[in-house]
Symmetry: C2
Subunit: 451 residues, 2 copies
């Protein structure tokens, strides 16, 4: 029944997401903001469900990870210590003629920038492109009334540093013992030169990061542990196992701070193909030792039973909330023919725990007390989970509308309901209908949408 | 039993919040970032519970409000349309001698700035203070590789504008009919000159805003409706009724766009006293008409049954998540004497639905199988809600530790548990203990922490 996903799934998704209220272009009425997106009514629920599942798995369901919500604006020395001021850069070239800027590796540039042969991809002039210069990707602003070098602050390009600088605050206030982790969900900002592919690479994005602090020597054990844990989490979202794979960073790819690194990649199909949605990194003691050096404050952990002090190593798991949302959508999107019908259907086969709307509720016809019964049931269910009441159009069309936004269950109030108080529950994926007492619907669906 | 809250409650709270992991100064190891704070393990849970309660009440439990999560970075024209570029300013004066800046109304300034008599509060020189100049409170940055006037973007100073510019996108994708609302939780930034009072006024903060779109003429009806709804919501968090009051904006206080405005104020005690935690505003069609004008895009609503088009009026409810978190903490803080004990106790009487930890689980002694039983119970409860296992120190001390962070229930595994499988549940506020079967604990506490 499923039709193979065509290469233009992303294009179809952009359209569906706008039409049905998942994702809109930011400031669209003003022509949009470069590679920034707004989550609409269904998108915000989908992303919130995803973040809540991560928070539950990483923080609430464990006794060895603590939550944190550090601010976006941090002391500027943080980014000197982390290396971002010096090295978080892209090489750019300028055209002296048309004043446009490009990434030095822009494939549209012909020839070597800085030489007389190089041709500007915008104005077409030859020999006008400068040598590459480094351009920092952090957004910069000024705090306080005076705009000078002493008041520069950056929008954080990652949430991780908020965890490192709070390491001892968290450890001491919670009395946690190494090994333990600190987890955080929050916005980060990168002034990317070539963002794109919908919400895959954006200038404003949300990360879900966890830093696990361990005793040196045990780091590779924990690295392997977290690789497996995190891959399993993505599978638990319903992402197809065959679309997920590990990509090990080669020596050349490894960041200067990393002792080992694996990406979890998801196959987005089309021209994107396999791309990183999460990174698992063994960062050693790079971050804590740098913050110790730059702040002048000791960040060592005191291991009381063994009466020794050490700087823990860090195993990081860093997942993009927007990328994973996109992976969930791509993974869920399918166009199907339906047996016995001319028209096919578009389905988002989203995991019930992530679906923005858990159930549609429909009166079969707009009479005989069915709307009243259905509205009452809707009001009752809405106190427990998001539902959508719909009485307009043919029942088949109403099913299709919910299929398209990933609603896993549709409840129909019909003639028999008015006689015996039963309703049908129709399953989005199997199309099977079962008849149950209306009183039991809340409990039945609640059990199925739990993770 | 309760002792009257002393005027230094805020000071005591700052200390408790750091020591127990509610709130830390941002980038503390670097000397802090001006008026920016990080939420620690308990603070992030408290604030998340607060936001989830707002989201449930305003979005999920209603059929006439849709959620949204618009980006922080918006098109710069948005802030011209909203009036922020022109009028979101504070008057500042400069000292020509020491180069420091002050708010023109700084009480430390002696004399009238700009006159020879005025004395600089920093260097003490006379006649060196400039006339007041307007200073915009929006944080400014640049998007893209070139820093020029065409690439200026602002960090949003409020979330509301993200709702207005998406009004038709949301309405059309959800098929909502006026009256309906759009709700959003998100960060906003204001480069305040005099922030302070812990998390009361900060440069980075989180808002929970809802814009309700209504037909002109019905706006005062909805204004009254929302005033009442929102006041009741604050009461439902456990905020004392006598600490909550309305403050009506006088003609002089009314913003240029407002037809009517009431603040919901909370009594923070001490020198702060009654202060705004939420604003309910009748904004008329100011915002939609301005965005229509500046974007050149029609933002009218089409009322199909009556075949007419109109620009809706907006009733806004805007609550500060950080301020309300502070109100919850101030409201909950009490120091009590305990009958028959020399030492008193510090209690955070936080509403069970908001408490970061729902239950402490303690083995009475570290032997006879009690720790194993308590650990097993802890693991079972942790799948449902946040719990804390503690086996160290006297049982009284363990109760005190949980009282201080607002844990509503403490479960103790004792000798009788090992005989008949029952445990005690101790109530934080009444100090009453009841004995129940361990198998029932999850269900009992779950029912009590539901809102």
């Amino acid at each position: 029944m499923p039709v193979t996903a065509s290469p233009d799934v992303l294009e179809k998704l952009v359209s569906l997401c706008k039409r049905r209220g998942f994702i809109f272009q930011s400031s669209e009425i003003y022509g949009g903001t470069g590679s920034v997106w707004d989550y609409g009514p269904l998108g915000v629920e989908l992303k919130k469900n995803l973040k809540d599942r991560w928070w539950h798995a990483m923080v609430r369901a464990r006794d060895d990870i603590e939550g944190l919500d550090a601010a976006i604006l941090m002391h500027p020395r943080v980014w000197e210590a982390s290396g971002h001021v010096a090295t978080f850069t892209d090489p750019l070239v300028d055209c002296r003629n048309c004043k446009k800027r490009f990434r030095a590796d822009d494939p549209k540039i012909k020839g070597t920038p800085g030489t007389p042969d190089a041709q500007c991809p915008a104005c077409g002039m030859k020999g006008t492109l400068s040598e590459p210069r480094l351009f920092n990707l952090m957004f910069k602003t000024y705090m306080g009334p005076v705009e000078d070098s002493a008041s520069i602050v950056y929008l954080r390009p990652e949430t991780a540093q908020g965890i490192y600088v709070n390491f001892l605050n968290v450890q001491q206030s919670t009395r946690q013992k190494v090994p333990f982790g600190i987890a955080q969900i929050g916005k980060a900002f990168r002034n990317e030169i070539t963002p794109g592919n919908f919400i895959f690479r954006t200038r404003e994005f949300e990360q879900m990061e966890m830093q696990f602090f361990v005793e040196p020597g045990t780091d590779m054990h924990w690295f392997e542990y977290w690789k497996e844990q995190r891959l399993n989490w993505h599978k638990s979202l319903g992402l197809a196992a065959e679309r997920l794979e590990f990509h090990q960073h080669s020596k050349e790819e490894l960041a200067h701070y990393a002792r080992a690194a694996f990406d979890i990649q998801f196959d987005f199909g089309g021209t994107l193909g396999f791309q990183e949605i999460e990174g698992v990194h063994n960062r050693g003691d790079f971050d804590l030792s740098r913050h110790q050096e730059y702040s002048g404050k000791k960040l060592e952990y005191f291991d009381q039973p063994n009466n020794k002090r050490f700087l823990p190593f860090v195993v990081e798991t860093s997942v993009g909330a927007d990328r994973t949302t996109l992976a969930v959508l791509v993974n869920a999107f399918r166009e199907e023919s339906v047996e016995g019908e001319d028209e096919g259907r578009t389905v988002l086969g989203i995991h019930p725990s992530l679906a923005p709307i858990k159930a549609g509720v429909f009166p079969l016809v707009k009479k005989d007390g069915m709307p009243e019964f259905a509205e009452k049931l809707t009001a009752e269910l809405r106190q427990r989970f998001p539902v959508f009441y719909d009485e307009s159009g043919a029942i088949g069309r109403r099913y299709r509308r919910q299929d398209e936004v990933g609603t896993p269950y549709c409840i129909t109030v019909d003639g028999q309901t008015m006689e015996d108080g039963t309703v049908t529950i129709r399953d989005r994926d199997t199309l099977q209908q079962e008849r149950v007492a209306a009183d039991h619907v809340a409990r039945i669906i609640q059990a199925r949408i739990l993770t």
